[in-house]
Symmetry: C2
Subunit: 397 residues, 2 copies
C-alpha cells in the first residue's frame, strides 16, 4: 500500500528506531546519567541570549499580521538583504537580496537546489564519509548519488578518484565543509583544485556541473582554519546554510540558500529554487525566525564549550590507543574502530552504555562517529568505558 | 540547465510574478489605499493575544536547548498528545500521539501523505475548482492529478462523474473542506456518499484508496454548518491541518497530519509520513510553534471580522447582478464572470484597481476568486469599482 520508494526507507527505519528505543530503554534501566549518548548532532549549548531578547522585542513592536504572515516565497526582502550584507562583509562577496532565499534549514535548501537541477538519471557526487540523508535527497528527484572513496589518511578529497568519477551525467557535487562526520576542513587549496577539475570537465562535456556547498558547521571552527567561501572560487555554486548549529536552533528549521549571480542561468535558477520552496510544500521559511536571524547575524553560540569537549575526548581516546584525526571543525570525531566490523564495535560500546553511530551509515566502514555536542560530564563519565573498550581490543598508544 | 520538471513552472511563474509586480506597481502609482487586492489568502486578523503570551512564557520557563532543539521527526510527543485530546474532545475520535504528526503547515502535510502513498503513474483525484498547487504536489511524486468537473449549481461534488473517474490506479482523493476557492462546505451526506463510492471501488479493484482531507479552513465557518470529521466515515483517511488561518500564523508554517489507526497499514503509514517529513528536508515542524500550538488549542482568530466582510461583499455583488453562491466557510467568494473569458474580466477589474484570481487557475473557467481576508474598508472602497464592472457588462439583479 505504501509507495515503493518509501518501503525500503520504512523497513530500514525500524532498525534505527530499534537503536533509538534501545537507548531510551538503557536510560530508563541504568539512569540517563549512566548512558553516554553520542549518537545525535543536537547542540547542547543554549541559543545566545539575544535570540530570546529579539523574539520578545519583535512581538512587542511588529504588526502580528506581518510578523506571522506570508511574504515572498524567497523570504522577507529586508532579512535577505541583511544576510547578503553580512556575507559580503565577512567574505568579500557581492550578494544582494536577489541572491538569498531563506529556507527551512539547510536540508530543505539542499532539496530546493536538487529539485531545481536534477533530472531523473542525473548523477550527484559526494565524498565518503558523507551525511547519510544526501542519498535520500538525491533519490527524491530520481538522481543517483555516487560517493567518492576517501583518502583515509587525511579525509581530504581524493582528487584522482574524484576526477575519474565525474562524467557527462554529473549535475552536481555536494561538499560538506566543515565535514560531518570527520570534522575535517577543506582548505582553499582543496576548493581551488576541485574547482579546476570541474571547470575542465564542464568544458570537456559542455555541461554545467554545480557545487552544492552544505555549510551548517561553517562557524564551528577550533583551530583558526579558514573555511573558504566556495562562490569565490567557482561560479556554478549553490550554498546551503543553517542556523541549527551556529545559533543552536536546530528545531526551528531556519537557514538560507545562496545562488550567486555568476552561476549559469542565475536568475532562472533563483526563480526555480523559490518555486521549489513553495512546491515542496514549505511555502516559506518560518517568518518569526527569519526576522530573528535579521537581528542576530553577529551572534554565535559559545563554541568554547565544544572546544573543551573536543580536547578532553581527543586526548583521552588518543591515550587509550584509538586512531583518529583531530577534528578542526563541526562537533564530531570520526574514530577508527579496532575491528573492521564497525557494527560489532557499536554493539560492544553499548555494553559500556556508550552510543555511537557506525561509519557504515556514512558510507565508510571501519569507523564510528562520536557527536561531542554533549555535557562535559557525559564525556568525563564515558572515558572509563572507552578505556575498557580499548583494552578489550588490545589497543595501546 | 534547470531540471525539466522545473522549466515549465519557471516560465509559468513569470506570468504570476508579472501580475504580482503589476499589483505592486499599481500600489506605487495610485497609493496602496486605492488598490483593492483580493488575490491572496493572507489573513489580516492578528493572531489571538494568547499566542504572544505563550511565546514569552515558553521563552521564560523552558530550557532553550529543548525549546529550539531537535525532537522526534513526528514532533514533541506532549504536543501531539494535546492535539489528539483536543480532536477527541471536539469530534468524538480516539486518537493518541501515535496518530498525530506535526508538520510545516498543511502543504507539507499533503506532500508527506503523497510521498508515502504515490507511485509513478498513480492517479489522484480532486474536485474542480481546486487549489492549484495540488497539481504540483502530485507531480512531485510523478502521480497524475485528475480534477472531477464541478456541479456549478451547488459546487458540491458530482457523484456520478466522481464514480466514473475512479479507476484501478486511483490511489487518493484530495478534498478541501471548507473549500478554497468556493467557500462551500461538504455536508455529512456528501462525505458519507463519497465514502460509500470509495468503499465499493476499493472492493471492486482490491486496492486501498485514500481520502486526503485538506482542512486549513475547518474553523472558519459562518453559518453554524458542521464540517464532518472524515476519519469517522472512512478508514483510509489522512487529515492535513494548518494553523495558518485559524490562528492567523500562515508565515510560521505550523500544522499537523492525522493517520487514524483504522487506516490500512496504519503503523507503517505513520512511519512513512514521519520519514517523509525528514527526507523532504523539513526534518520536523518548527519547534517553538509546536509548543505554542500545545498551549493554544482552544484559541481562534476573531472570525467575526471575516463574517462582516462576507456579508457586505456578498450583499453588494448580489445587488449589482453578480452570480455567486454565498460562502459558508473559508474566506473566499467564487463569482461567475459575466463573460466566459475570466482572464478578460480579471484585466477589466484591474482597470478598477481590483485584483482577483481567474477561475482558470483553479481548473474552473468563467469564475474569479475574491479573497475577502482584507480590511473592511478595502471592501467598502472597492464596491464602486465592482458596480461599474457590473454596469459595463450589462448585469442587473
Amino acid at each position: 500500500m505504501i509507495s515503493e520508494k518509501m518501503k525500503a526507507l520504512v523497513s530500514n527505519n525500524s532498525v534505527i528506531r530499534q537503536m533509538f528505543e534501545e537507548g531510551q530503554q538503557m536510560a530508563a534501566k541504568y539512569g540517563s546519567e549512566n548512558v553516554y549518548d553520542f549518537s545525535l548532532g543536537n547542540p547542547n549549548i543554549p541559543a545566545p541570549p539575544k535570540v530570546k531578547e529579539t523574539i520578545i522585542s519583535l512581538l512587542e513592536k511588529e504588526d502580528p499580521t506581518v510578523l506571522h504572515g506570508y511574504m515572498n516565497n524567497a523570504g522577507f526582502p529586508d532579512v535577505r538583504r541583511k544576510v547578503a550584507d553580512s556575507l559580503n562583509r565577512r567574505f568579500g562577496t557581492f550578494f544582494t537580496e536577489n541572491n538569498i532565499m531563506m529556507t527551512v534549514g539547510a536540508a530543505e535548501g539542499l532539496n530546493c537546489a536538487l529539485k531545481a537541477l536534477i533530472n531523473p538519471g542525473d548523477e550527484v557526487l559526494t565524498f565518503a564519509p558523507y551525511f547519510v540523508e544526501y542519498r535520500n535527497y538525491v533519490a527524491n528527484f530520481d538522481g543517483h548519488l555516487t560517493a567518492v572513496d576517501p583518502d583515509t589518511t587525511t579525509f581530504q578529497p581524493d582528487f584522482a578518484k574524484f576526477e575519474s568519477a565525474v562524467n557527462d551525467r554529473t549535475k552536481a557535487v555536494i561538499i560538506n565543509n566543515p565535514n560531518n562526520p570527520t570534522g575535517v576542513i577543506y582548505t582553499e587549496e582543496t576548493i581551488k583544485k576541485l574547482a579546476e577539475i570541474l571547470e575542465k570537465k564542464q568544458k570537456e562535456y559542455g555541461t554545467d556541473i554545480f557545487i552544492i556547498a552544505d555549510e551548517p558547521y561553517r562557524e564551528l571552527v577550533y583551530t583558526g582554519a579558514e573555511v573558504p567561501y566556495v562562490t569565490k572560487y567557482y561560479a556554478n555554486t549553490i550554498v546551503c546554510y543553517s542556523y541549527s548549529k551556529t545559533l543552536s536552533l536546530p528545531g526551528e528549521r531556519i537557514g538560507y540558500l545562496v545562488v550567486p549571480s555568476e552561476a549559469a542561468d542565475a536568475e532562472d535558477l533563483f526563480t526555480a529554487v523559490t518555486i521549489a520552496n513553495r512546491v515542496i510544500g514549505c511555502v516559506n521559511a518560518p517568518s518569526l525566525f527569519q526576522k530573528v536571524i535579521g537581528e542576530c547575524l553577529e551572534e554565535k553560540a559559545d563554541i568554547n564549550f565544544y572546544a573543551k569537549n573536543r580536547e578532553l575526548l581527543y586526548k583521552s581516546l588518543d591515550e587509550y590507543g584509538f586512531e583518529c584525526i583531530k577534528p578542526e571543525g563541526a562537533f564530531y570525531m570520526f574514530v577508527k574502530t579496532p575491528t573492521e566490523d564497525d557494527i560489532e564495535f557499536v554493539n560492544e560500546a553499548k555494553n559500556e552504555h556508550i552510543l555511537v553511530v557506525p561509519g557504515t551509515s556514512f558510507g565508510c566502514k571501519g569507523y564510528v562517529r562520536i557527536a561531542y555536542c554533549v555535557a562535559y560530564e557525559t564525556i568525563e563519565n564515558s572515558l572509563a568505558g572507552f578505556k575498557r573498550l580499548a583494552e578489550r581490543y588490545g589497543l595501546t598508544k
